[in-house]
Amino acid sequence: MHINPILAVFGLGGGELIIILAALLIMFGTIAAVVVFVIWLVNRSSKSPHPPPQSPKRLCPQCGTELPVNSPEGLCPRCLMKTGFESAASEPRRNASAPSLEEIAKAFPQLEIISVIGRGGMGTVYKARQPQLDRIVALKVLSPELSSDPAFAERFSREAKALARLNHPNIVAVYDFGKIVNFYYFIMELVDGLSLWQMEQAKKPLAPEQALAIVPRICEALQYAHEQGIVHRDIKPANILIDKQGRVKIADFGLAKLLGDETRGMGLTQAQAVMGTPHYMAPEQWEKPLTVDHRADIYSLGVVFYEMLTGELPLGRFQSPSRKVQMDVRLDEVVLRALEKEPELRYQQASQVKCAVETISGAKS
């Protein structure tokens, strides 16, 4: 009722009405807009494609791989799968306890046993001291079960001699070897430093310069050993040691062959129990173990190289390293050629790998 007089006062009755209507519309429109906005927000947060905040990574104390959420029975899947490999024959190997420090000290009176450095499938490594020479060494004692295998004794004397003959700045030196009581042992150079595996646990990937400094040294070690007719067969980060002066030393040369036994048909299962990670093994080590030659080490080197540069293993259809990290693209070819599945297509000599790498990095040997 008031409207008519107001309209009448302002004359433009229609215009006034429109303004009032517009104001009402804006008011309601705003409320509606707010409601719609709120609904959208709620919708969005419930349909979030973002993963839930990740709990801190848990690592398996034994193998170092990441444990998944809700791991089966709380156990490490990788270790579980590894247990699945072992055939009944190797069961005793697993159950036998490693020799105690007292036992070892008694067996090796000429040494002062200081501590245990590491335990692996092959045996145990101790830090020890040779009083006469006043030097610290590594004592590697192989698993006691081996002493019962007659074929092993013969292989041991043959192989260990060849290993002891290896004399190279980038190869962990073997000072002595033999059998005492029922322990097969090696006395070796003790490297005061870290393994590449440990370095990568701390920081992965390495800076390209680091990788480029390490790889040529590995090549030199491999070239030397191959020329002596020895293939490592188990090149992997755990076997590549770097001492406090930054010197690279390869450990466990030829031990894989000594302890595995590929002549026993599908012996790969047994070898597996000894060798551990299959990731670094050349395809022919899986598929045609009897044809394995020094080029298998070159493949393994390729895997290690790839992992150093990218922080990952070259699995399945993997990408070239330069697509993963900032580095010299020319290195792709080197890595990829080392990783060729066919041995014939790889570099045929470790020295060739070294040459290629140093040409690219501009370093001189």
């Binding site: 993963p51 990441e66 791991s71 089966p72 029975e73 799968m81 009944a88 069961e91 306890s97 299959p278």
Partner: protein, 242 residues
């Protein structure tokens, strides 16, 4: 060859070989086998789809739709008998489905209302830890497969001990399934179980042996030839590393 591998006769009875041999014909046995296999191994599929970047909701729809399609006969006609592994086949089928078929079936979200597998999506989602952002869908698929395999094996193993009234033994000893040396001394376990150290050693040996048997049997269910069990084990081990 490991003494634990099955004879060819036993092998014919494993699920995947059953499915493969019944390729051309529809036999109720093979249908059930295939459906069981799918129900057992759908986690890796879901994980793969999620890793591709799809939301949980889309992934659920896709998983259902895929199974509906997969359980029709057309897919199997393409499988050649030599290529034995269910895992590879399932992944290849999924990829094919995602690339080609999804568009067609998008309209009918759940085929004829048939819930192929009643899926516990929440648990699958929780396991989709999206471990590392650099891992691709295929790696995730294989890893999930390996973990699923282990879960099933351990569940069966635990169940056997429960049936024997020995669940406590299983609980005490299950760590020996992964430990190289002994993490907990056998003497301590013996005390917990009111038994002797010698008896514990035997029990551990039996547990590990039975575990291996069940693991291999579980794998055997998904391959068509005894020789492939080792290979599959190796592959899955490799997938879990690093």
């Amino acid at each position: 060859m490991s003494s634990e591998s099955s004879s060819p006769a036993e092998f014919a009875a494993t699920r995947w070989s059953l499915v493969l041999s019944a390729r051309a014909n529809d036999s109720p046995g093979s249908n059930d086998a295939l459906e069981t296999l799918c129900r057992n191994y759908w986690h890796p599929l879901y994980a793969y789809i999620r890793r591709q970047g799809r939301s949980p909701h889309d992934a659920q729809d896709l998983t259902q739709a895929f199974f509906a399609r997969f359980l029709e006969k057309n897919y199997l006609a393409a499988v050649s008998p030599a290529k034995g592994k269910f895992r590879s086949f399932l992944l290849a089928s999924l990829k094919h489905f995602l690339a080609n078929e999804w568009d067609k079936t998008r309209a009918q979200k759940r085929e004829g209302g048939r819930q192929i597998v009643s899926l516990d999506y929440d648990s699958a989602e929780a396991r989709c830890n999206l471990e590392s952002n650099e891992t691709g869908p295929e790696e995730i698929f294989d890893r999930r497969w390996a973990v699923t395999l282990l879960e099933r094996t351990l569940a069966r193993l635990r169940q056997e001990y429960i049936v024997d009234g020995k669940e406590k033994v299983f609980e005490q000893l299950k760590e020996t399934l992964t430990a190289e040396g002994q993490l907990t001394s056998y003497a301590m376990i013996a005390r917990q179980l009111g038994s002797s150290e010698g008896a514990v050693k035997v029990a551990v040996h039996r547990l590990r042996r039975r575990y291996r048997e069940l693991l291999r049997a579980e794998i055997a269910d998904t391959v068509s030839d005894p020789a492939e069990v080792e290979e599959e084990l190796r592959h899955l081990f490799a997938a879990l590393g690093g």
